[in-house]
């Protein structure tokens, strides 16, 4: 394996700056290599510490990040992870998430460049959650947890610095979203009554895995009254109704985040995840008449001729095309809340397991130590 000093001699791999926090930050801001917040200077020593958790060749790209199609090498990713404030042991998860979002079905080009306000959301499952202390409980999508905050920030910095998601030239989002700073949460498997997300998506329970979703911010579902599965799911289905959702126009996979208390009520009613999805699919319909006349005439009657060419105002418009397109994860702490997370629509969720180079499921991030 090429050592770091050799790699750093390649053109553009490093630059000299005064050994001063403010000077390095001024340089980064000037070059646009930041999310606007101060960064940790990516010195050779810090980058090397990060790369201690990488079992791949440091200079070889693991993916190309759209829209610039910049080469995501471990070296570059490590520099961004240092800048974000990550601990070295987080690095395998960052590499895995970047690799997953560069797979074709995720459609990173569009997720990055669209005028929509989506950001790659990373849901983490498996033993790595405990090992890295990734928050799955109270405020899981919010601040206060180093792993969630900095893994997500490292991904964002890579999306900007390697992928070229520069506002106005590579990231055309009309608004952007706070989730573009960082968007990582773990599933609360201990308090979930169902199989975890990564198991539902085909991986063994003992695997550590991430699922990336081109997602909007969470939209809250408050239900303090319902005490039955049908009640909770009716409220969630009602919250899914959204005449302005991108998801309406694609075979989209919106994510339903169920708070542990809501999930328990639904499971106590005897419903499996698949049955909960079917209920939501069957109840999350808007009547055609709730859409604007222009949308009906120019979109529904044209794009879905078979279904809506002559349909009346009561014709149901499903928010998802089939039940199994819905994703469900149990996340969060105490409280009678769930959340609906719509997506960019033209993107598929990608789930990948943390594996060592020889193809084994990693038991621990220390499996990646050189």
């Amino acid at each position: 394996m090429t050592d770091l000093s050799t790699l750093l001699k390649t053109q553009g791999a490093s630059l000299e700056a005064d050994d001063d926090f403010d000077a390095v930050n001024a340089l980064m801001r000037e070059r646009g290599w930041s999310d606007g917040l101060p960064i940790v200077p990516p010195t050779a020593q810090r980058v090397e510490q990060m790369l201690a958790y990488c079992d791949r060749p440091w200079g070889e790209p693991i993916a190309k990040m759209a829209p610039r199609y910049g080469e995501a090498t471990p070296l570059r990713l490590a520099a961004n992870a240092v800048m974000a404030g990550c601990r070295p042991e987080y690095f395998p998860v960052i590499m895995l998430a970047v690799e997953a979002m560069c797979e074709e079905p995720f459609n990173l080009y569009a997720v990055q460049a669209t005028t929509h306000l989506c950001a790659p959301l990373v849901i983490v499952n498996g033993p790595v959650v405990k090992e890295l202390d990734i928050n799955a409980g109270h405020n899981a999508f919010g601040p206060g947890w180093q792993a969630n905050a900095t893994i997500g920030r490292a991904i964002r910095l890579a999306l900007v610095n390697i992928g070229g998601a520069i506002p106005g030239s590579g990231d055309m989002s009309t608004f952007g979203a706070p989730s573009k700073f960082s968007y990582v949460a773990a599933e609360n498997e201990a308090q979930s009554p169902w199989e975890p997300l990564h198991v539902e998506r085909g991986l063994p329970k003992e695997a550590s895995a991430i699922t990336v979703i081109g997602a909007e911010c969470p939209h809250n579902v408050n239900d303090h009254e319902s005490i039955t599965a049908e009640g909770i799911l009716t409220t969630i289905a009602g919250t899914m109704l959204d005449a302005g959702a991108n998801d309406l126009y694609y075979d989209a996979q919106p994510l339903i985040v169920m708070g542990p208390e809501h999930a328990k009520t639904v499971a106590d009613g005897g419903l499996s995840k698949a049955q909960a999805k079917r209920f939501l699919f069957e109840h999350a319909h808007l009547p055609l008449g709730r859409f604007s006349q222009e949308n009906i005439e120019r979109r529904f009657r044209v794009t879905w001729k078979e279904r809506f060419a002559t349909a009346g105002p009561e014709a149901p418009v499903p928010m998802v095309q089939k039940p199994e397109d819905l994703l469900i994860a149990v996340i969060g702490g105490a409280g009678k809340h769930s959340a609906v997370i719509n997506t960019f629509g033209a993107t598929r969720a990608v789930t990948r397991a943390l594996k060592t180079r020889d193809g084994r499921y990693a038991k621990s991030v220390s499996d990646f130590r050189k």
């Binding site: 460049a113 070229g164 106005g168 030239s169």
Partner: protein, 72 residues
Amino acid sequence: MSELRKRGLQAAVICSEPFLKLGKNQARVFGVPDLPLLLIPHPLGGLSLEQVEGRAQHAIPQVVELIKTSFK
């Protein structure tokens, strides 16, 4: 579009002003930095059919000019 350009065909992208930078960047990324970008007024969405025709009218002379130059 970049593939067509690389095969030697005349090709262009029609875009509105806010997307010019993205267009230029992508042309460079895909190895055709000289790909012509034909500008039309923004926006492209939320237009009446007459306004869509207006956008086309704006683009047509630029398309004609592009075809003419390719035969020079």
